[in-house]
Symmetry: none
Subunit: 207 residues, 4 copies
Amino acid sequence: MPAPSESTARRDKRSAILDAAIRVFARTGYHAARVSDIADEAGIAYGLVYHYFKNKEEVLNSIFEERWGDFLDVVSAIAASDEDTREKLFQIASLIVNAYRVRPDWVKVLVLEIQRSSRFAEPGQMHAVGKLFAMIAGILRDGQARGEVRSDLDPKIACYVLIGGLEIVITGLVLGVIEVESAEEEGDYFDRVARTVVETYFNGICP
Amino acid sequence: MPAPSESTARRDKRSAILDAAIRVFARTGYHAARVSDIADEAGIAYGLVYHYFKNKEEVLNSIFEERWGDFLDVVSAIAASDEDTREKLFQIASLIVNAYRVRPDWVKVLVLEIQRSSRFAEPGQMHAVGKLFAMIAGILRDGQARGEVRSDLDPKIACYVLIGGLEIVITGLVLGVIEVESAEEEGDYFDRVARTVVETYFNGICP
Amino acid sequence: MPAPSESTARRDKRSAILDAAIRVFARTGYHAARVSDIADEAGIAYGLVYHYFKNKEEVLNSIFEERWGDFLDVVSAIAASDEDTREKLFQIASLIVNAYRVRPDWVKVLVLEIQRSSRFAEPGQMHAVGKLFAMIAGILRDGQARGEVRSDLDPKIACYVLIGGLEIVITGLVLGVIEVESAEEEGDYFDRVARTVVETYFNGICP
Amino acid sequence: MPAPSESTARRDKRSAILDAAIRVFARTGYHAARVSDIADEAGIAYGLVYHYFKNKEEVLNSIFEERWGDFLDVVSAIAASDEDTREKLFQIASLIVNAYRVRPDWVKVLVLEIQRSSRFAEPGQMHAVGKLFAMIAGILRDGQARGEVRSDLDPKIACYVLIGGLEIVITGLVLGVIEVESAEEEGDYFDRVARTVVETYFNGICP
DNA sequence: GATGAATGAGCTTTCATTCAT
DNA sequence: AATGAATGAAAGCTCATTCAT
């Protein structure tokens, strides 16, 4: 066996614990989740969790750091593309909405647990979430330069309305307030939600 | 002392415990909150909490039952009034913005904690928070019938953009990301925020 | 019942826990001792230990602070008395040696456990033990002024030899290396030990 | 590779683990010491400790068996020599002082840790450390017979004053309370300490 | 020989809840 | 009504020990 495979095995087990933790945190919430629940979900002894992570909180932090970074990379690529503002925002909206469809547990934990953790109380920890706001504000500013967005809006505030709309949609999905209509495909429904939010954001609800 | 004053005193103390609990739950979450934290916050001994409530969960349940209903009643009255759609939405936006301004903790607890409790496991029971969304969707649907709202929007989705926009702006204020301009009164500022969000919501960001 | 009796009851329970802890630490050592052992020894639930002390270490610290201070007070009184140097040192030697006879567990814990704790690694924590050395050095210095002690000795070093001798005797007793001869009374034996140490210290072993 | 060198390598590694264990036990005590601390100190993987020793307790036992016997052999040789009492005691004082200087950890572990283990619970077994005291007491008794030592002293007690004086002076050096004068070599200084203690021990502090 | 992943007994600590006062 | 001492279930975490590689 070559050495790299061992390193891969270690990374795999670590990842397996994180995945199990996401599922458990999504199901019961961070505080109510026992370390032994995570271990059971991952099919390992609970002591092993402490072999890979310092404690329960580091598991939550690792979920955030390793999953949120991936998400930001995709948003960054969209922001840098040649599409017009409306299309960029729609792609981001789609990304967010579909993230819930594909990995509902991830979104549940990111939205419900990590937002509440001390991360946001400490200055400078706002950073990671702040990056998302800055990226979308940047897209709006570019849009204003191209004449695709009203120039009387402050991009730094306007971006909140879009993100807030998306966030509430996600929260609604997470909490089960929004239910997919039985008449259409799930994938179609999620696309329609993203499109409606961006469309409303662009044109308003006035006829 | 007349008897009613004693009953009032009892109700006051009960209410004080609930208010303290809301603040603590908002700060640390239900699971992490200790009964002694609630008692400290209320300035009483922790044993007394058990004089007024069966246990910690009953405290959470009582918050829900006694606070959310009041809020929905006001929204319901606005929805039933003769005002046009824009004015109704502005009034609700004002109500929410000011609720968040005056009692940010209430909203945090109602949205984040109560959903997760076992209350909603019972089948056939509608999400209480969902009722708010349904009411606003209802206003939009009425607006479509009156020709005041674009008929191509799905009211059930469009309502999230308004609520989400309001929520994230207020969250920004609460977290201190957005700062109130020193030249105006705080109350005025919150009204202006509500008006701006509703305005953007109506007319969009398109030039 | 008057209020003071309640305060007394609280102090009594606290003291009972400390006494139980001394017995347990003496028996098994600090590290091997379980909090539940202390509670069992005191006849209470282990949770109650945490009602009176922050954690296990604070129990050990409290033993030290509350018992060592009492000891220093007595030494201080002896140092301030009118007796000659030899008598003062004999009284202190008696005090130390008899402390073991009356409260062997106290001495065991003070000698074996607390010396090893981090207390002495941290600067400034040397203080409490240092006070004993300073007091005895002071007695020697007074003795030199009175012509009762060789003036070519540095009191700061000479005091170590006495304390060292006493300490080893105590350690020997604690560890069971020294055994009381069956032919004499225990009290007599301990007095003889104290006298021998001081006598040797004064006159040397030379004939 | 010749066979003997392999056996030597094995013995070296085993010895390295014991030396590391002594340092760790001296620092933190047996109970608080982790097997992984010993391994870290020895620069090996903790699993390897179990290749050379059955378990943690066997490490402690081996320290005792393989280190203390050597020391006693030297003391025994000194006691049996033709020197007069003062010279014998000076040689032992030198041995102890230098043992403490070169291997302070050995003495700490031998004195503080090993006594407490279950080894000495077995009836009829003499305290190994007690043997050292008995040997020195024997030298004093011989000295009394030769007229070199006051006959009114109990050798079993008097020996403690010497050992204790040595111990506490050395402890002072180890803890940095006494500092070696810069003008002389460290080795010289330790010899002078041994000589001073033996001198004081012989002639007393009386003028 | 050597490594360190894996296990789980057992400890410390927290805290909801009860209850005597 | 009010207090807080007392209890003990339950959880987090540590670490000696085993074992596959």
